[in-house]
Symmetry: D2
Subunit: 424 residues, 4 copies
Amino acid sequence: MLQKDRAALCPPMGWNSWDCYGASVTEEALMQNARFMAEHLKPYGWEYVVCDIQWAEPTADSCEYHPFAALAMDAYGRLLPAPNRFPSGFRAIADSIHAMGLKFGIHIMRGIPRQAVYLDAKVLGTDATARDVAAPYHECHWNTDMYGLRRELPEAQAYYDSIFALYAEWGVDLVKVDDVARTDYNPADSYDGATDVEMIRRAIDRSGRQMVLSLSPGPAKVERAWHLCQHANMWRITDDMWDRWPQVKAMFERCDAWQTHVRPGCWPDCDMLPLGTLRMFNGGEPCLLTRDEQRTLMTLWCMFRSPLMMGGELTRCDAFTLSLLQNEELLYLDQHGVGARQLSRSGEEAAWEAQDERGARYVGLFNLSDTDRKVQAAPSWLAQGAWRAREVWSGALLERPGASLSAQLPAHGCALYKLEEEGE
Amino acid sequence: MLQKDRAALCPPMGWNSWDCYGASVTEEALMQNARFMAEHLKPYGWEYVVCDIQWAEPTADSCEYHPFAALAMDAYGRLLPAPNRFPSGFRAIADSIHAMGLKFGIHIMRGIPRQAVYLDAKVLGTDATARDVAAPYHECHWNTDMYGLRRELPEAQAYYDSIFALYAEWGVDLVKVDDVARTDYNPADSYDGATDVEMIRRAIDRSGRQMVLSLSPGPAKVERAWHLCQHANMWRITDDMWDRWPQVKAMFERCDAWQTHVRPGCWPDCDMLPLGTLRMFNGGEPCLLTRDEQRTLMTLWCMFRSPLMMGGELTRCDAFTLSLLQNEELLYLDQHGVGARQLSRSGEEAAWEAQDERGARYVGLFNLSDTDRKVQAAPSWLAQGAWRAREVWSGALLERPGASLSAQLPAHGCALYKLEEEGE
Amino acid sequence: MLQKDRAALCPPMGWNSWDCYGASVTEEALMQNARFMAEHLKPYGWEYVVCDIQWAEPTADSCEYHPFAALAMDAYGRLLPAPNRFPSGFRAIADSIHAMGLKFGIHIMRGIPRQAVYLDAKVLGTDATARDVAAPYHECHWNTDMYGLRRELPEAQAYYDSIFALYAEWGVDLVKVDDVARTDYNPADSYDGATDVEMIRRAIDRSGRQMVLSLSPGPAKVERAWHLCQHANMWRITDDMWDRWPQVKAMFERCDAWQTHVRPGCWPDCDMLPLGTLRMFNGGEPCLLTRDEQRTLMTLWCMFRSPLMMGGELTRCDAFTLSLLQNEELLYLDQHGVGARQLSRSGEEAAWEAQDERGARYVGLFNLSDTDRKVQAAPSWLAQGAWRAREVWSGALLERPGASLSAQLPAHGCALYKLEEEGE
Amino acid sequence: MLQKDRAALCPPMGWNSWDCYGASVTEEALMQNARFMAEHLKPYGWEYVVCDIQWAEPTADSCEYHPFAALAMDAYGRLLPAPNRFPSGFRAIADSIHAMGLKFGIHIMRGIPRQAVYLDAKVLGTDATARDVAAPYHECHWNTDMYGLRRELPEAQAYYDSIFALYAEWGVDLVKVDDVARTDYNPADSYDGATDVEMIRRAIDRSGRQMVLSLSPGPAKVERAWHLCQHANMWRITDDMWDRWPQVKAMFERCDAWQTHVRPGCWPDCDMLPLGTLRMFNGGEPCLLTRDEQRTLMTLWCMFRSPLMMGGELTRCDAFTLSLLQNEELLYLDQHGVGARQLSRSGEEAAWEAQDERGARYVGLFNLSDTDRKVQAAPSWLAQGAWRAREVWSGALLERPGASLSAQLPAHGCALYKLEEEGE
C-alpha cells in the first residue's frame, strides 16, 4: 500500500455541488448541504462536502461557463473563492464543515489561469512568471479559465506546489482535478494528463496535508490503470453521468473493464449520483430515472465499490431518495465489500457477485433490457453449500435457492440477494 | 473458478513449432522435440508439444503461406494433417506424445476453409453446406485458407462442433486459435472475434475433452479482459514476438496493463520464447538477443506468469539456452507465483515484485535503457523486516539490504532478488 | 485530345439495367429497352444499352448477390453471359442492338473470378494460371465473385487483355468497370484503383476496338482528376444515386467540386437517372422524387454535362418521364453546352450558368431548401446586354430581366432561363 | 469575372519577408528590399513588398513566436506596427513604397487579439467588446496572439470591417491572411476557415480599396476550389515551402491536382521562392537547393502560373539568383501563359505544356528521380506541324524535333522547350 492510499481506504462518500448548482454554487448552498449531511447522513458514512467548478468566478449563475470572465485571484496567480459567493472564504468554510465532523473538498482545473498569464503574475517562490510556465496549446478545450503548464519546467511544479500549499492552509481534504483524466481528450495537441497527475501528486505530498486526489472527467484508459493507482485515489471511468438510463446501462461495460482495479486507496469512479432534486439553477428538476433504474444504479455502484458522491440537493431529498442514501446494507457493501466481480453480461442482462467481510455473499441480477425479463445466475459456490437468501431491496426471503438464483425483473430493474450459509 | 479454468491451473509450458519451422513443421520435427522434452525438460514442468499453422498444406516449406494452396480436407470441410508431412496422422502422433507423458496441441484458424466453400462441402450433422455458413467479408486478411463464419447461424456452431469433435477423437490437449484475439484487426469489416471465441468455447465444452484454449495473435484489448477470462485459458497480449530487444522492452508496457488479469485458468500470453536455434527453414539461426536480454525476458515472463512456449528447436539447444529452460527457481515463480505486480516503470527502467507460495518474496530490477544504469526499488515491506537476499541469476548474497534494493545493471539487463526473512 | 477521348466526345447517353433489374437483367429485358430506345429516344441522342452486374450468374433474381454462386466461365477464367438468361449470347445481342443503330455496353468487376482461382484456370497466352495472378487481399468487399490482380505481374495485364479481346469480338461499345473508382474503398488493404485503371486502359487500346471506359462506384477523388481524365471517359463522382432528394441535393456539392474537370472525352458522372419505373425485381416501383425534384435533377445533370444513363424501365415510361427524356433544349445543353459553372451555392440554394454553341446563355436557379423561396442570380454579363429570357420548363417569357434573374421556387424546385440577346 | 478578380489579373509578383526575416522584419529591411526591387526587378514585373507575421510584436527577433508577448494595439483591439520596429508607421511606409511605383502588402492572422479580449476592448462602431465576439476554442494552434471570432455575430464582421478600414487608410495593396486556408488544421475543434474567408472578403469590399486577398497556409482542399475562387485571389496549395528538394518534388502532385483552377483573379499558390540568401535571423543562409533544383522550381512555378513571392534578401542576391528573377521568358509564361497542363507524371518524371499569348508553345520536361534520366514527351500537336525548338535555360536550338521531345536530364533537373512554327 502506498502512502497516498491512506487518504481513501474506503470509497469516498459525500456530496458534490455540480449536479444541482453547476458553476453557481455558493457558501450558503454548501453549508445547508453540510448541515443536512451532518444531521441525516453522517451516521451512514457520508462525510465529504465538495465545492465543484468555478468558485473563483463572481458572475457564474448556471451550468454554463462565461468565457473570459474575470476571476478572483491572488498576486501569485492562485485562484481564490469569489468573495460575493463565498463571503467567509474557504478556510472558514472548511473550519465550519470540520466542526460538524465532516470533510471539505474543492474542484480545480489543471493548469494556470489565463488571467495570471495576461497579468504576468509571479510564480510563488521562483523567479518565473505565469508567462514562463504556461503552455498555450495544452489549454482546456471547454473552459477558458486556464492554460496548460510547461511540464518540463521546475517552475511549473512550483506553481502546483503553491496552490496545494494554499489548499493545505485552508484545510482542504479532497481535491477533484478536472480536464486531466481522459488522456486522449484532444488528439490535435497530443496532451497527455499523466505528467500533470504526477506533478499534482507531488504537490499534495509536499503540502504536508492528506488530501484525496480525484481525477475527472473520464473515461480514463484501462491500460493506464497502474499509473492511476500509483498516483490518484479515484478517477472517472466515464464521461459526465446524468440521470439518463443509457448512461446507467453503459456503466455496466465500464465496470466490467475496470473490476480488477478496485482496491483500498484506488477507486475507479462511476461519477456522481444524479438522484433527488437536480439542476437547482433551472429551479430544481427531479431525477429522471425511474425507481427501478435508481435501484439498479445504486446496486451496481455499491457492488463495484465506486466512490459515492450525491449530486442532488440534500435539503430537497424526498423519502425515496433518502432511503437510497440510508440503505445500510448497500453502503456496507460499497465501503467494505470484498471480491466483487461480474458473473455475466450481455446487451440484455448482467449479474455480479461480491462478499462482505462478515462472510455473507451477494448476487446482483440486472435486467438491462427494455422489457420484463427473467435473469439468472449460477455461481459455482451456490450449489456447494446450503444457503439462506434474502432480496435486499424487497426483503423477500428465498429458502434453499439450489444451484441458481433467478428473478423476474422489470425493465431496467434489479434484484440483490444476500446469502448466508445456514447454520451460521 | 470456471470449469474451463481447470485445463490450465498453471501457465501452460511447452514447445511450439512456429519460431523454428514456420508453416513447414513435420511429424519428424514434432517427434524429435517431443523426445527431447520428455528426456530433458519434462522434470521441469514442460509438457505441451504444439503443432503450429498450415499442417493441412502439403507444399508448405517456410514461414510463407502459399495463396490458394490445396489443403488436406475431409468430406465435411474439416482440415486434416497433410499425409506427406504427417504420415502417421494426428491421432497416432498424439498417442505417441501421450505415451511420453506429454500433451499434444494444434493450431487452427478461425472460420471454414475457402476450399470447403468452393467444393460446397456439407456441414456435419446439418443440412447446410459450407456456402451457407461462410461469411466472405469476415475472412482472414493475411492467409487465404479460410472464410469467416456467419455467426448468427446454428449451422456455423455445428461446423465448429464438428472440428472440435474430431480434435477430441485425436486426443488434442491444447488448441491455439489464430486470427481471433485482436478484435480490431481489420477496421474495414467490423469483425469482432468475441463471437468466434464464444462459439469455440462451446464447441470445446461439447467435445467432452478438456483442452486448453489459446488465442492469437494480439494485442488483445484490456477492456475485454473479463470476456477473455470467461472463455479462454490464454490470449496473446502482443503481436508476434521475435528475438529483438524492442519487442522485449515493449512487453513491459503490456505486462503493466494486464497485471491484474492473471489468475488460474486465465493467462495473458507474452508469446513464444524466441530462444536457442530459430528459423530452421533458413537453416537454423541463433537467437539475436544478448544473454542479458534473454535473462530479462525470462525474468519478466516468469514474474508476470506468462505461459511459456519454447520457440527454438530443442535438439539444438546450447548449454546457456538449456540453463534458462531448466532454471527451477524461475519456473517455480512462473508456475506458482503469487501477487506479482509492477513496482515502477519509466522508459528507462522497471521493477516488479512477487511472492511464492512458500513465503519468499522476489524483486526484479530491469534496466530498459541502452547504457549501464543503477536501478532501485523500495517496496514498503522491505524496511519492515529483516531479510536475507540472494540474486537468482548470479547467486550473489546480499545481507541486510535495508530499505531498498539496488543494482548496477548493464544495458537491457536485470537482477532478480529472492528475499527470505531471517530466522525462518 | 487523347485518342481515348474520341470514344466519348459528348457525354454518353443511354439506358442501364441496374435501377430496374439489379443483378437479374435478361436478354429479353435488354432487347425490349433497346427496341423502345430505337423507336422513341434515338432521335434525341440516346444510344447505349448497358447490361449491368452479374450477367454471368445463372441464379441472380434481384438486386442481391448470391455469395459464392457458380458463374458461367470459359477455360481461361473469362466470365460469359449465363446461357439461361442470355440465350443468344452477347455477340448476337450486340449485333441486334447495332442493327437498330444503337450501341452495346456491359458491366464488369475489376479482378479475376475466385472461381477461376479455385479451378486454377490458365491465363490466355501465358504460362500462368489464375492462382499466380490473383491478389487475395485486394478482393472486392461487397461481392464474392472476384479476387484482385497482382498488378506487378505482366500475366495480370494479360488477363485483362484477354477479356477485352473477347469484348471486342462481341462488339462491346462501353465497359462500366466496377469496384475501381473509389480509391479509399477499403482503408484496411491499401487498395488503390489507379493501377487497375491503367491496365484496363491498356487492354482496351490493345483490343483494337473503341470502347467507352466508365468507372464505378464513386466518389472518385477530385485530387485524382488528371489521372482519371488521362485514362477513362467517365467516372462516378458519388456513391450509388437513387430516387431520394438528399442524394439529389448532395450532387450540388459534388458538381461544385468537379465543374472544372468536364471536357470532351472526360465526363464526371452523376450516376444513373432513377426516373420512371424502377426496381422491377420488386414488381416495378415508381420513382419517389417529386416532379420538381426530377426537373431539378435533369437541369443540374444537363447543365453540368453529366453522362445520362436512364435507370427506369423504358417500356413503362409515363408521359411525364418521357417528356424529361425528350426535352431537346435540355439535352442539347448536356451534349453541346459550353462553359458551365456554378454562380453561387449555399445550403439553401444554388445557381449555375452555361452557354450553348449557338450563343444562347442559360441560368439555372435551384431551391435546395424545404420551403418556398425566392432565388436570384446576377451574372455580370446580364447587366451588360439587352436580353430576352425564356424559362425552359414553363415556356414563360421574361422581357428585359435587368441586372438579375430571380424566381419564386417551390421546395426542391428549379427554373432554367435561356437568354438570347435582343436583335439577334 | 468577379470584381475581386481585378485585384490580381496576373499572378502577383513580389517579395515577402518571411523566408529571410521570420517574425523579426523591420522598416529598414522592408525599405532596402523595396529600393532594390524598384531598381533591379520592377522592370521585370515585380511589384509587391510584403511585410509578414508579427509586425505588432516589439520583441520579435527570429522565426520563433514569443508566447503571450505584449502587442502594439489601438483602443479598438486593432494591432498596430510595433513603433520600435516600424518607426514611420505603415501609412508612411506604404507611401514611400508607392512612390517607388511599387505596392505594399501585410500579413495578418484571422481572429481578434487575445490581448484585446483581456483588455475587453470595444469593437469599433458597435456596442460589443472583444470578449463578446471572441471564440476561445477556435484559436490558432501555433501562435498565441489571437482568438477566433464568433462568426454568427454581426459584431464579429464589424471587427474585420474595422481592421480593413484601417488597412485601406494605410494604403495596403495586399493582405496575406494566415491560419485560414487549411480547413482541417485542427480536427479537434471543427474549425472551418470558409466563414472567415467570406467575412474578410466582405470587409475588403467594404473598405473601398482594392486589395489582393492571399490565404495561408495550405494545403487548401481542392474540393473547395470554387469557394476559394469566389472569394480570394491566391491561396496556398501546400504547407510551408522551404529550400528542400522533397518539397519541390511534392509540388508536382499539388500542381497536378490544381491545374484546372488557375485563372485571372484566382491563383493557387505554390508559396514563396526560397532562393538566394535566406534566414537572415541566423546570419543569412544560402539556399540549399542545387541550381538544377532551382531551375526546376522556377520552371514549374512559372508554367503553372503560381504567384511569385521572392523569399530571399534581395540586396544579397548573387548573379545566379538574380538571373532567375530576371528571366523574361519564364516570367512572361507566369504572367501571360495560356492553357498550361500536365502531360504526364510518375514518381520519376513529369512533363507539362503551355502556350503564350503570342502563339509559342512550351514543353517542360522534369527529372524527379535521383539519377540521370532521359525524359520524353509527345504532345499530339508536335507531329502535326513543323516546329523550331529552343531550350530556354541553355538556349540550345533543336531543329525539327519530330513527334516527340526528349532530353537527358541530371537528377532533379529540367528542360524547357519553346516551340514556334516554322515560317512564322
